[in-house]
């Protein structure tokens, strides 16, 4: 009886020792794992908010009453948007261009050699595709018609606009708009810096530099570092500018904006901005008409909200982070 009790006690002691040993082993392993990952800190505390959120808040009295529709292209990594004369939508993304009708129904898709940086549809219905450093021209059915030579070895193309006579190609690296003939011949440079004439030229701190064509065939180009839109004749002579920096709704916010813009059929302007993500409309006298969409409706870090406008004044906004296109419409726009 006594020896039985002693053996039970021995077993209990041995078990406790083994369990203690295992606990130490587990603690040691945990310490090792923690040491390997090397992360410290109490992460449970919530982050403090800064008044930057207040600065980014949209003034609701300026919001325009618009209807929004979303279409979902099938290609990924969306980076460029264009609309043709028949209101078909074209999106460019990872090595492909997709055409959709106004209801978002897929029409067709074709593959290109690289990631698409910008798109434009010429008055002849050809698709001008800006790849990293050169332009390629495609027929509507996706057949490649031509590949133009790169304008400069370090070119980084960000936007294309075309008329029946010229093609304008914005290059954020060289801070210049390249002027081409429709057949791809390089004719000149628009908006070049000229220190002698105290011309600052385009100031492009980041890879957003947009161009668009007015109804009369003249050229509008963003000067994002100067927070302006600049107006040029079709052959590239400077006419005027408008725009100012500012975090208020009327101004263009941050270091370089507007990042993208488009012209409405009535001559008014649609602009999109980064940093404070917002899409705004200015009338043809360059006065703010209102805000279509404010920061609250976008991802915090939304970028590259490419814009297009169709013949009926509907506004198309690329939403690359969510892989879709938003269509805003309202009669009063």
């Amino acid at each position: 009886m006594k020896s039985n009790r002693m053996s039970e006690a021995n077993t209990t002691v041995r078990n406790m020792l083994v369990i203690g040993f295992i606990a130490v082993a587990v603690a040691f392993v945990l310490m090792l794992v923690r040491g390997i990952s090397g992360t410290g800190g109490d992460h449970s505390r919530t982050a403090s908010r800064h008044d930057i959120d207040v600065l980014k808040k949209t003034d609701s009295s300026l919001l325009l009453n618009v209807k929004m529709k979303i279409i979902n292209p099938s290609i990924g990594d969306l980076s460029a948007l264009a609309v043709d004369g028949d209101d078909n939508i074209y999106v460019g993304g990872e090595t492909a261009v997709e055409m959709l009708d106004i209801n978002g129904v897929h029409v067709h898709c074709f593959v290109v050699a690289e990631s698409v940086r910008c798109l434009s549809i010429s008055p002849y219905g050809e698709i001008l595709v800006g790849l990293s450093d050169h332009v390629e021209v495609y027929h509507k059915n996706g057949g490649r018609k031509a590949a133009w030579e790169s304008p400069a070895s370090n070119a980084v193309l960000t936007s294309i606009a075309s008329t029946s006579n010229y093609v304008y190609v914005a290059d954020c690296m060289n801070k210049i708009v390249w002027l081409y003939s429709v057949s791809g011949e390089l004719l000149g440079r628009v908006g070049e810096k000229d220190a002698d004439k105290r011309k600052v030229g385009f100031v492009v701190p980041s890879a957003f530099f947009d161009v668009a064509i007015a109804r009369d065939g003249s050229l509008w180009a963003a000067n994002p570092g100067q927070h302006r839109l600049e107006h040029y004749t079709s052959d590239g002579r400077f006419i005027s500018y408008w725009g100012r920096p500012g975090l208020d709704a009327e101004g263009f916010c941050g270091c370089c904006n507007p990042s993208n813009f488009a012209l409405m059929p009535d001559g008014s302007f649609v602009t999109s901005e980064k940093h404070i993500v917002r899409v705004k409309v200015y009338d043809s006298e360059c006065k703010l008409k209102g805000i279509i969409s404010g920061q609250e409706e976008w991802n915090k870090d939304a970028l590259g909200l490419d814009l297009a406008v169709d013949s009926k004044g509907r506004i198309f906004v690329l939403d690359p982070q969510n892989g879709r296109v938003r269509i805003y419409s309202r009669n009063c726009i």
């Binding site: 082993a25 392993v29 992460h43 982050a47 403090s48 927070h227 270091c255 370089c256």
Partner: protein, 228 residues
């Protein structure tokens, strides 16, 4: 050998009393083996047979590219004691809460603002320099975001300006980093400066960082920058 409930697997003359005790016994031994394995890894200097390592059977730890060793087993091969690490914050995680300025055991803090010139737009209206909403772009103190005047603004040519940080004045508050990231290219970053940091065993900023931005990194790759 086939184990049965009656097999004397402990080897000291005692038979397991039940199936439960048998499993408990097996688990105990597995855990002890694991302890041995991890303990061994921590203290035994393994011989390198990895391409790119010393490759001649030298003890791991003498290799100059130890920190960059790409072998999937490199963490096993590296004796933990031989890998010198330092504290660093990841700018991609940092939310500029201000604790880097106040929680460091050093005052002013070992955390400073570092300027990535390759990401900078050299803007006339720099949001890392000017208070948001400043209309007159002069260097008046009330226009500047930096509480200590640590950012120097130098005219280059119209409309470009260069911004440099006077590290002796910077307290690592992150105010400029926050506004540069919110409204600019995000070229200003906070980093622990290792000519100042005393490499506390447990970094007191790391303990209080709400973003979990701190980790130990290899001493030969002591600076982390988000590049996009």
């Amino acid at each position: 050998m086939r184990f049965t409930m009656d097999t004397d697997i402990r080897g000291y003359g005692e038979k397991p009393k039940s199936r439960r005790e048998f499993f408990r016994f097996i688990i105990r031994w597995i855990l002890l083996l694991l302890l041995g394995l991890f303990g061994g890894m921590a203290f035994v200097r393994r011989r390198c047979s990895l391409p790119g390592g010393p490759g001649n059977g030298k003890a791991c730890g003498g290799c100059p590219s130890l920190a960059k060793c790409k072998s999937p087993y490199s963490w096993l091969a590296k004796p933990l004691g031989s890998r010198r690490t330092v504290w660093q914050l990841d700018p991609a995680k940092c939310i500029q809460c201000g604790r880097c300025a106040t929680e460091c055991v050093l005052q002013p803090s070992a955390v400073k603002c570092i300027h990535r010139f390759d990401m900078c737009g050299y803007c006339k209206l720099c949001f890392g320099y000017f208070q948001p909403g400043t209309s007159v772009l002069t260097s008046a103190a009330e226009n500047q975001i930096c509480p200590t005047g640590a950012i120097r603004r130098k005219y280059i040519e119209e409309p470009y300006y260069e911004y440099t940080i006077d590290l002796s004045l910077c307290i690592g508050c992150g105010k400029c980093v926050k506004t540069c990231g919110a409204f600019g290219n995000g070229s200003l970053k906070l980093q622990v400066c290792h000519d100042l940091c005393v490499n506390c065993n447990e970094c007191s900023i790391a303990r209080n960082c709400p973003a979990g931005a701190y980790s130990r990194v290899p001493a030969d790759e002591a600076y982390l920058f988000k590049t996009s």
